[in-house]
Each structure stands twice: as structure tokens, then as C-alpha cells.
């Protein structure tokens, strides 16, 4: 496996959705290719740092204001029809 092939499989490898044979080939590549090892490791850190960060957290006061506004709009709007009254339709908004 070369570096280009490694990169192609990186997302599935990091997500743990890869067959055992490809996984073993990827891990073999990692033992001797330092660049791919670094890319793999730092890509994993990239995902973790975004997942753990508080980027665009909703402030408490704004959250309360939005919740009130949403519920007021819903009350003013017509009630959703009961599911049993509706024929099946596809799940698209």
C-alpha cells in the first residue's frame, strides 16, 4: 500500500468501518511511513478537538429567548394533524 492508497482509506480507518484485511495493510503502512503516521494521528486529533470544543455553544439567555419565540410561533400556527389521519408519505420536509 502506498501513501495515496492509505489516504483514500483514512476516513473509514478512523471511523472503524474497515475490513480486517485492509486494516492490517493500513497498519503495516503506518509502521514504516512516518508521514502517514503523523497525518493519521493529527487528523484524529483534529476530529477530537472539534468534537470537544465549545464552538458555537448557545448562550443560556439566548437559548431561553429562542425557546419562547419558537413555542409562541407554534401556538399561533395551526396544530399538526394527527398522524393517524394522514396517509403515509415520504420523510421529507
Amino acid at each position: 500500500m502506498n501513501c495515496k492508497e492509505f489516504l483514500k482509506e483514512l476516513t473509514d480507518y478512523l471511523d472503524g468501518v474497515i475490513d480486517a484485511r485492509t486494516k492490517s495493510e493500513l497498519e503495516d503502512h503506518l509502521t514504516w511511513c512516518h508521514d502517514c503516521y503523523v497525518v493519521c494521528n493529527t487528523t484524529k486529533m483534529t476530529i477530537e478537538i472539534y468534537r470537544d470544543s465549545e464552538v458555537y455553544e448557545l448562550p443560556t439567555d439566548l437559548r431561553s429567548r429562542l425557546q419562547s419565540a419558537i413555542m409562541t410561533k407554534c401556538k399561533d400556527s395551526k396544530k399538526p394533524a394527527a398522524a393517524t389521519d394522514q396517509p403515509p408519505s415520504k420523510d421529507t420536509p
Binding site: 494521528n41 493529527t42 487528523t43 464552538v55 437559548r63 396544530k79
Partner: protein
């Protein structure tokens, strides 16, 4: 698909009980769904629109639209996936209105040979987040992700920040699974590349520029 535990994951059956109650007219049940997902919808909307006011509008419009169309939600997917799809559409509409001259589409697929080739392969400090204080880190993460095309950052946010599965992301965005995987790989690699300048090991671990 239902066995994927998302970051927002509550047991699906519980969620469906709320959906059923809301469909039967319970505003209280719908309010619980709002409380459960408003932070996620806000985060997604902010990432797509990159504008606080627009994101606030998207949160309100998406939940109102979900409420008005609850009868059309046929429960083949999680309520959250359905809601995300509504929110993404609303956010993209806002973005198009704000940037009328620019084509904004979730289908855009800007690909060059170079965009998945790592340019800077320097290793990072062991705890890169600790090189900055919380506010600085938040700013640089926001600034970095804002530089990605809308279609890339949307896929990254749904998959890696919100924890949707590949299948759920594809369903929410109306994309094929290979398209989601391809955008996700490039989004991850581009973010990694851009963050390397802040986090790489250099000058005794001082990652600040």
C-alpha cells in the same frame, strides 16, 4: 442505523414517544423536542451561515417548520435526522440570500488533486488544545472551519461534531454515501492541514504564531 449512538442520543423509543405526543397535539412534548435539540440546530446553523442573527432565525424557522410538518414525518428515520435536514435547508437558504452572487450548494464539490494531499506533515504537540486559552482556541477553530467550502464544513459538522452516521448525514443532506465520505475525508484533511500551523511542535512547544 438506529443503533448509532449520537452525541445528542437519547433512546430512540423515548424520542418517538415525544414525536407521537406532539403529533397528537401536545405542545409540551414538542417543547421537550425543542429543548433536546435546539443547541445542535443552533450549532449547525452557525457553522453553515457563519452569522449569529441568521443562525437564530434558522433555529426558529426550522422548529416551526418541523412542527407544522410533523404529520409528514413518517418515522423512517430519527426525528433528529429529519430536523437536521430541515435546518440545513433553512440555513442554506439564508446563506444564499446573504451572498446572492455566490453559488451555495450542498452539492458543490470543489476538487483539486492537491486538496487531499497533506502539505504540512509536522507532528503536533501532545495536548494542542492546551497551547491556547479556551476563548483563543474557540476563535481559531471557528476561523479555521470557516475557511472550508460550505459543503465540506456541513458534512464535517454533521459527522464529526454532531455525531451523525455516514448514512444519516447522507439522508439529511440528500447526498450519496460516497459523496459524504469524499467530502468528509477532504474536510478532515484540510482542517488538519490548517490547524498544523497552530499546533505543531516547534520552539519548545509554543504553538502560537
Amino acid at each position: 442505523m438506529t443503533d448509532i449512538q449520537t452525541k445528542v442520543g437519547e433512546p430512540v423509543s423515548d424520542e418517538m414517544a415525544l414525536v407521537h405526543a406532539a403529533k397528537a397535539g401536545s405542545l409540551q412534548a414538542f417543547e421537550e423536542l425543542v429543548r433536546r435539540y435546539d443547541r445542535n440546530v443552533f450549532r449547525i446553523a452557525q457553522h453553515i451561515t457563519q452569522n449569529r442573527e441568521d443562525a437564530e432565525d434558522v433555529v426558529q424557522d426550522a422548529f416551526l417548520k418541523a412542527y407544522q410538518n410533523l404529520a409528514n414525518f413518517q418515522e423512517n428515520s430519527k426525528f433528529y435526522t429529519w430536523l437536521v435536514r430541515i435546518a440545513v435547508n433553512e440555513a442554506l437558504m439564508k446563506l444564499r440570500r446573504r451572498r446572492p452572487g455566490q453559488m451555495v450548494s450542498i452539492d458543490e464539490d470543489i476538487q483539486t488533486e492537491e486538496d487531499s494531499v497533506p502539505r504540512d506533515v509536522a507532528d503536533w504537540a501532545p495536548n494542542p488544545g492546551q497551547l491556547f486559552d479556551q476563548a483563543e482556541l474557540r476563535d481559531l477553530l471557528q476561523k479555521t472551519i470557516q475557511g472550508l467550502p460550505a459543503s465540506f464544513r456541513t458534512v464535517f459538522v454533521l459527522r464529526d461534531v454532531e455525531g451523525l452516521s455516514t448514512e444519516e448525514t447522507a439522508a439529511a443532506l440528500g447526498l450519496s454515501i460516497p459523496a459524504v465520505k469524499s467530502r468528509l475525508l477532504r474536510a478532515r484533511l484540510q482542517l488538519r492541514d490548517r490547524l498544523t500551523k497552530y499546533f505543531k511542535v516547534k520552539n519548545s512547544g509554543d504553538g502560537k504564531r
